[in-house]
């Protein structure tokens, strides 16, 4: 089935199995390996992407449901202003160890800040409630979000996006 959608800002159209998972298509057809499989059941968030700008688990999405929609992965999110701030902050605070969960956290963190530029601690925890990490114990990732929030506010004052 020809499935047309927008991927990382560009229109794509490919003959794909509509019952294939978006996760597998992103990794195999498009080489977007930042999107990872950690559980296949929507529990760990390692497969996080933005679907029409909203955080979603690509392991749960079938290609038949993607027609006409937009998908963004870390490969494009990391180039955005918010994406750069979040990735940089996570490295700075030590919120990355083995790195396997990290792309999912960056996507979730960027999604949170886009919607809520000044999240409370509770909102940060809620925003990450679908992302599992086994290495860091989460605290340094939370700290990264506080750093990112501060930088975002400074940036806005200075007029950058």
């Amino acid at each position: 089935m020809i499935i047309s959608f927008t991927l990382n800002g560009k229109p794509v159209s490919l003959d794909l199995d509509p019952m294939a998972r978006l996760l597998d298509v992103l990794r195999r057809e498009f080489g977007l390996t930042s999107v990872k499989e950690g559980c296949g059941e929507g529990e760990c968030g390692a497969c996080s992407i933005l679907l029409d700008g909203q955080l979603a688990n690509s392991c749960l999405i079938l290609m038949g449901a993607v027609t006409g929609r937009s998908v963004d992965t870390l490969e494009s999110i990391r180039e955005s202003g918010i994406g750069r701030i979040v990735t940089d902050a996570i490295v700075e605070t030590g919120g990355v160890q083995c790195g396997f969960c990290t792309p999912g956290f960056v996507v979730a963190g960027a999604a949170l800040l886009k919607e809520n530029p000044a999240p409370t601690d509770e909102e940060i925890a809620q925003g990450f409630s679908g992302n599992l990490c086994r290495c860091t114990g989460y605290r340094q990732i939370f700290e990264a979000m506080r750093v990112a929030t501060d930088r975002l506010t400074e940036g806005e004052r200075e007029g950058s996006s």
Binding site: D17, G40, E43, N57, L60, L62, Q126, N131
Partner: protein, 324 residues
């Protein structure tokens, strides 16, 4: 039994011409009338249940019918009607989100799952642990079911009949949920007291071990109406309207010619034990990999006792003091 304990499957990916992406609801209903198919909206339950591993397409037991983007199924209106393919994230963000869902949605799975999961999917999947079913039961939600032959309205209590089973016929689709004003009573108002507890293995993103949802309508320190729904402690949500009425039925005192409306805090506390016994006799949870029957039972009753003998009476007494 096959290798690795997987149930037998017929094998083979579903051919592209057997996957249906209808453009309109009418088209979807024609497909439903024509033969076996599996409606899929968010897919969060179906994909997990039917997944087969990395780089293997998901295989359902019948051709999938993608209904998630049908515009007719995606509206929320001011009269408390929610399209069945409205996602939980959309519902959460909507200014028209009915009050009963407000405490429940943030506890449902995770933000990423809420982007995909739909209210219709949660209802039709009919898990005993489904998070939306208790508030839907408590507020007498009415489901709008459509087929190419027409529409019917079904109260939620008549729709979900057991774990994973509903009265949806094979030629039908759930198209909308009516809750609140558009339900049975146009004069219905939002409750002024809501108690919701979902007990799960952790606070982040977990399946319910048990839940309790209580909505109460009060005035001048008196309880006039109450709705109690217990989740995941029986094959379906427990709701006992007769017991609810008995709790709130005013009783004429000596020398009174007419019963006052509702009951005050003291009367509520006095009536609670009989009510709790009634729930205790129908609560029948199971032991499973998430929790034990005895814990589910004891905890839901403890929470209920807390509401009826402690929290709600306190709300009534505070209200009655404020009115003075």
């Amino acid at each position: 039994m096959s290798a690795s304990g997987h149930p037998d499957r017929s094998g083979g990916a579903i051919a592209a011409d057997r996957v249906i992406v209808p453009a309109t609801l009418d088209e979807a209903l024609s497909v439903r009338a024509a033969g076996a198919c599996r409606p899929i909206a968010g897919g969060t339950d179906l994909v997990v249940r039917n997944r087969r591993g990395a780089d293997v397409p998901v295989a359902l037991d019948a051709p999938p019918l993608f209904i998630g983007m049908l515009p007719e199924l995606r509206r929320i209106d001011t009269a408390g009607t929610i399209g069945s393919a409205v996602t939980l994230a959309e519902l959460e963000r909507s200014p028209l989100c009915p009050a009963p869902f407000k405490p429940v949605l943030p506890e449902f799975a995770s933000p990423a799952v809420r982007t995909l999961a739909t209210i219709g999917g949660n209802i039709c999947n009919a898990s005993p642990a489904a998070d939306l079913l208790p508030p839907l039961h408590a507020h007498d939600a009415v489901l709008e079911i459509a087929s190419s032959a027409g529409r019917r309205q079904v109260p939620i209590a008549d729709f979900v009949t057991g774990p994973g089973t509903t009265t949806l016929r094979s030629n039908e689709l759930l198209v909308a949920v009516h809750i609140g004003a558009a339900g049975t009573d146009p004069a219905r108002t939002d409750p002024d007291y809501v108690f919701y507890r979902k007990v799960a293995a952790r606070r982040s993103n977990a399946l319910s071990k048990l839940s309790i949802y209580v909505a109460a309508w009060t005035g001048a320190g008196r309880l006039t109406r109450i709705a109690i729904a217990l989740g995941a402690v029986a094959p379906t949500v427990i709701r006992l309207p007769v017991v609810e009425s008995a709790l709130t039925q005013g009783a004429a005192g000596p020398g009174e010619s007419a019963a006052p409306i509702g009951v005050d805090a003291t009367a509520l506390v006095n009536r609670a034990p009989v009510a709790i016994d009634a729930y205790a006799s129908v609560v029948r949870p199971i032991d499973d990999q998430r929790s034990s029957a005895i814990y589910r039972r004891d905890t839901v009753l403890r929470l209920l006792r807390f509401v009826l003998t402690d929290d709600l009476p306190r709300h009534l007494r505070t209200q009655s003091r404020e009115d003075q």
